[in-house]
């Protein structure tokens, strides 16, 4: 199994490490690797969009047209996971900040996202979160976005107050927080199992 971590910008290496660890734990042969190469992305079985700055990542994946490969893979039913900035890019609907910065989204999920929903860095936090299908999970939110609204075809996995912070639409997973920053690989395992 080949897991492509899109290496435009952000905490790419953390996802590579977490996904490889999850593969080993599940006893699945395969590897996760960082790439921005169109062919490597096309040949992969699953794709991860890491955290970083959504404005920057969006520009780079569209410029190199790797964005098209991600969309194609998602349409073919391959699992795609976006964390933090990655979750913004997966959305069909952005907020005022997305529009103002003319950030191009991949438009793969029927969700409405809000950038920097919790405030600036000093308001960044970590919390024990109850996630459907996973259980209690230490979630790290860094200048995190939130999902304000989802369509009925989207499964909500976790909420924080009124905000959705984890959800799944068929083969696509969006998380407002960073599972790749902790040693807990359960979310990556869940993601890998989505590929079957």
């Amino acid at each position: 199994m080949k897991i492509a971590v899109i290496a435009a910008q952000g905490d790419v290496e953390e996802h590579v490490v977490a996904a490889n660890k999850a593969l080993r734990k599940l006893g699945i042969e395969g590897k996760a690797f960082a790439t921005i190469d169109k062919e490597e992305v096309a040949e992969s079985d699953a794709i991860i969009l890491p955290g970083g700055e959504s404005t920057t990542i969006s520009k780079l994946i569209h410029k190199s047209s790797v964005a098209e490969e991600i969309k194609k893979a998602a349409r073919e039913g391959k699992p795609v996971m976006g964390t933090c900035a990655g979750s913004i890019l997966l959305a069909k609907h952005g907020d005022e900040e997305v529009r103002k910065t003319k950030t191009k989204l991949l438009e793969l999920m029927d969700i409405w996202v809000k950038r920097n929903a919790f405030g600036r860095q000093r308001e960044s936090f970590q919390i024990r979160l109850d996630i459907k299908g996973i259980g209690e999970f230490e979630a790290v939110f860094i200048r995190a976005p939130a999902i304000l609204k989802v369509s009925s075809n989207v499964d909500v996995l976790a909420k924080l107050d009124d905000y959705v912070v984890a959800c799944q639409q068929d083969n696509i997973l969006a998380l407002s927080f960073h599972p790749e920053l902790t040693d807990d690989t359960r979310i990556h395992e869940y993601f890998i199992k989505m590929a079957k």
Binding site: G10, E53, T55, T182
Partner: protein, 363 residues
């Protein structure tokens, strides 16, 4: 009677909650209504995590809202809000201090990406002021005139993450032990000359390679040697005849032994990971897309570009080209393409001809 009490109660409520000082009422109430015991702010994980989100990116020095927007538009991952770019600080001389908070706020309001700002080395109050403004990261920077010749800020005590400059593994380890969430090479700011940043990256890489092969005894010897600069204040005092004891606190609430132990732990992390345990950026003299790509080749996690962009002849093009070269440093053809027809780069300076080297500030 009531007519007097109601305004008074209202005044006290506003004053104590401080809501009139907070920008985003919604966020304030939202955060305060959540179960605060479950939320944890400013942990090491959150501070280092913020820095990790900047990896592979370019952080640009800006002096006004318009420049900040150009930087964001070009794909910068963050901006550094300054009163003057380093080249102008160097040219104008005098004491360089924290930028005007009004200017910093203007920049914060102009962009959606993180905004960083510089405080003087050791200046705890400037750092607290920047934290209160809500900047996303504080750069305790040698580019400004140092406020404390003995010590850097104890950054563990802050919620806001810090970035600090370093010329060597020793400086980097000291800053990390003090709580820095990100390290950058000092280079030589405002010169447009990459040679010092390259030197600092080599020095760190070489030292890390050596550390990887060391046993515990050797690591401890290095830790003792790295801890020596913390003794400077105590030693100055002892020269006047006051005797020192082993259990004296020589920096904040730490004895020399505590500091050695802390540095030993940082060195163990370096050994285990084969790199700095925090994100390591390149800074100080990066002027062209090729410079930025070169620093990435040498192992930088990303780059700071100071005077390079807004001292060039074509700001938006230059900014975009440096972003592209940084992300695609492995692909020489993209670097070549990005470097085409950019107009003039900033005029550089030779290090030997400088009146003062900023990098020597803060050990």
């Amino acid at each position: 009677m009531f007519l007097l009490v109601i305004p008074l109660v209202l005044f006290l409520f506003i004053e104590f909650t401080g809501i009139h000082r907070k920008k985003n009422l919604y966020i304030t109430f939202y955060m305060e209504n959540m179960d605060l015991e479950k939320l944890r702010f400013g942990t090491e994980l959150i501070k280092r995590g913020f820095a990790k989100m900047q990896k592979g990116g370019v952080i640009m020095d800006v002096t006004n809202a318009e420049q900040a927007k150009i930087a964001e538009e070009a794909g910068a991952v963050a901006v550094m809000a300054l009163h003057k770019v380093p080249a102008d600080i160097r040219a104008s001389g005098g004491v360089a201090r924290m930028a005007d908070p009004k200017k910093i706020e203007e920049i914060m309001d102009a962009v959606t990406i993180p905004v960083m700002a510089k405080c003087r080395i050791g200046h705890i109050i400037e750092a607290r002021a920047l934290e209160a403004l809500g900047v996303d990261m504080v750069d305790e920077s040698e580019v400004l005139t140092p406020a404390d010749i003995f010590f850097h800020i104890n950054k563990k005590k802050f919620i806001v993450p810090f970035v600090c400059g370093a010329r060597s593994l020793g400086e980097a380890c000291r800053r990390i032990w003090e709580g820095a969430a990100m390290i950058r090479t000092k280079g030589e700011a405002g010169t447009g000359n990459v040679v010092e940043a390259v030197k600092h990256m080599h020095l760190m890489n070489f030292a890390i390679e050596k550390v990887k092969k060391m046993d515990d005894t050797e690591l401890n010897e290095v830790a003792v040697s790295y801890a020596l600069p913390y003794k400077r204040l105590a030693e100055s005092v002892s020269k006047e005849g006051i005797k020192l004891k082993d259990d004296d606190f020589i920096y904040e609430e730490y004895t020399f032994e505590d500091i050695v132990k802390g540095l030993y732990e940082v060195l163990q992390e370096v050994k285990k990971m084969g790199r700095l345990p925090v994100v390591n950026f390149a800074a100080g003299g990066i002027a062209t897309p090729a410079d930025a790509a070169f620093m990435m080749y040498l192992g930088a996690d990303g780059v700071f570009v100071g005077s390079g962009i807004f001292k060039s002849s074509n700001h938006p093009e230059y900014a975009r080209a440096i972003v592209e070269a940084t992300e695609n440093w492995r692909d020489a053809s993209i670097v070549a393409e990005a470097s085409k027809g950019l107009g003039e780069a900033m005029k550089g300076q030779e290090i030997e001809k400088l009146a003062e080297q900023l990098q020597t500030r803060g050990l």
